[in-house]
């Protein structure tokens, strides 16, 4: 009797969107969208992260069903990491950034069913680390950049 193998738990994605965001504080703007032929890692667990802290993004379809999720180190630099080669100092430490402002990239799979990207984070300041993450920005990735909803 033939047996059915389990579908692979790791399914990479062929084809990606390179999304460029600019931010000032927690105000984030999607400024460019570029189709790129490249492999992206498979999705991480789509559920079970509701009470976690950190940063992640989620792609959802038109019905709001999640289709892809990746947790990342927070790309919004509300503090900066400082390094040292002086043995009298820690080799790594952090200092707060007074006015976070910058640019970051997210690579997301270019899948037909994906409609929106949602960004989740704990409050965007050093003291906010440890609080449960919540959605703080959402963009329609099927529309032209710079027209997405901002919170």
């Amino acid at each position: 009797m033939p047996q059915v193998a389990q579908p692979p738990q790791v399914r990479p994605y062929n084809g990606a969107l390179r999304l460029t965001f600019q931010y000032e504080g927690s105000n984030v703007k999607l400024v460019s969208k570029q189709k790129v032929e490249m492999i992206l890692p498979p999705t991480q667990a789509l559920t079970g992260n509701e009470n976690q802290t950190g940063f992640w993004f989620m792609l959802s379809n038109a019905q709001g069903t999640p289709v892809y999720r990746r947790a990342l180190h927070n790309p919004i630099a509300y503090d900066r990491e400082i390094f040292s080669n002086n043995p009298e100092h820690p080799s790594v430490q952090r200092v707060p950034v007074a006015q976070p402002k910058g640019t970051f990239i997210l690579l997301v799979p270019d899948v037909q069913e994906a409609k929106t990207i949602q960004l989740f984070s704990h409050p965007l300041n050093p003291a906010g680390r440890g609080l449960a993450a919540s959605e703080f920005a959402r963009f329609d990735i099927t529309s032209e950049p710079d027209k997405g909803e901002k919170k």
């Binding site: 059915v4 193998a5 790791v10 390179r18 976690q52 947790a71 820690p90 790594v92 449960a132």
Partner: protein
Amino acid sequence: MGAGDGQVIGTTQIVDHGPASRKWNLVILSEGYRQAELAKFHSDCASFVSTMFATPPYDELWCGINVYRIDVASTDSGAKDPTACGGTGANPKTYFDGSFCNGGIQRALEVNNLAVHMVVNAQMPQAHMIMVIVNSNEYGGTGGDIATFSLATGASEIGLHEMGHTAFGFADEYEYYAGCGSGETGHDKYTGAEPAQPNVTADSNRATNKWRDLVSSATPMPTTINKDCSKCDPQGNPSSAETVGAYEGAYYNHCGAYRPQFNCRMRALNNPYCAICQRVIRQTLAPYMASWTWGTNTIGAGQTQRWWLSWGAYPGLEWVGVQPATPGAELDWDTPGMQQNADGSALYWITVRNNGSTAVQFHFRGNAL
């Protein structure tokens, strides 16, 4: 100052393991190199690549990695070095406005990351990770979306630490924010939610800890306890360096958060990545390897079985075959088959024979297309 202070010369692939569309692509850009100094940048790039290649687990994953160099020539050499931080006052005209003294901290060497992204988006949009090497012998660097570091001895470690954050989503494992001797407050005990990052946790329970599969039953959980949460734990490692457990002190807190090994590159520079970080790197880069594992099953002694797999797109993968996971075991298999279904999906099958006298666990292996 900025993009008017130089020009983008072009992109060169310096580690070539295949097309960019199939590999994990690291892109390294130059900052503060005059055109006549670009040969030095090429050498500095090669030096970093050698360091990375010698760093586990990148050594074993090397076939999945491409490296590209983007030559950007600046009008002047070096980086800004403001006197406000005790610097020399140098103020060179450079393409990415590289400068020390960001936030009033001398070692905080940063570049204009918007300008970097614009160049990468135009030159090498298949980049998974971006680094900038700044032509200065003064120690410095920083992270975030782009890893930036100078040419000073040991500064390439900054690139490896930041790659852990940016490419693999690692948290910092150090147990302080500003430093153990800084007199910092508000970092005594972590009482927050479980971090989403794979290499720190608030959960030291053996039954539920997220890296429990790598914790030996002989290892106490938690493995270390900080007896004075008002400061960093001064005790040394009570275990062997490779022991995975739950070491108290991580994620900027002296207590209440745990790291998986006593030391890791994400805790302090010049250490190897811990076992958890290495596993995540392997998992993340697996799809870029020439042959990757996508499933595991077991076949009983003397059995012949056909295994089927459906895939959402055709052709989604190509078979390589099966590989026994049991040391010394052998399996036979026939030529793998595949067909396209009417809905555009694919069906794959392979017949596996175990001629031995014991059950064999094995991996299916294939190439993602």
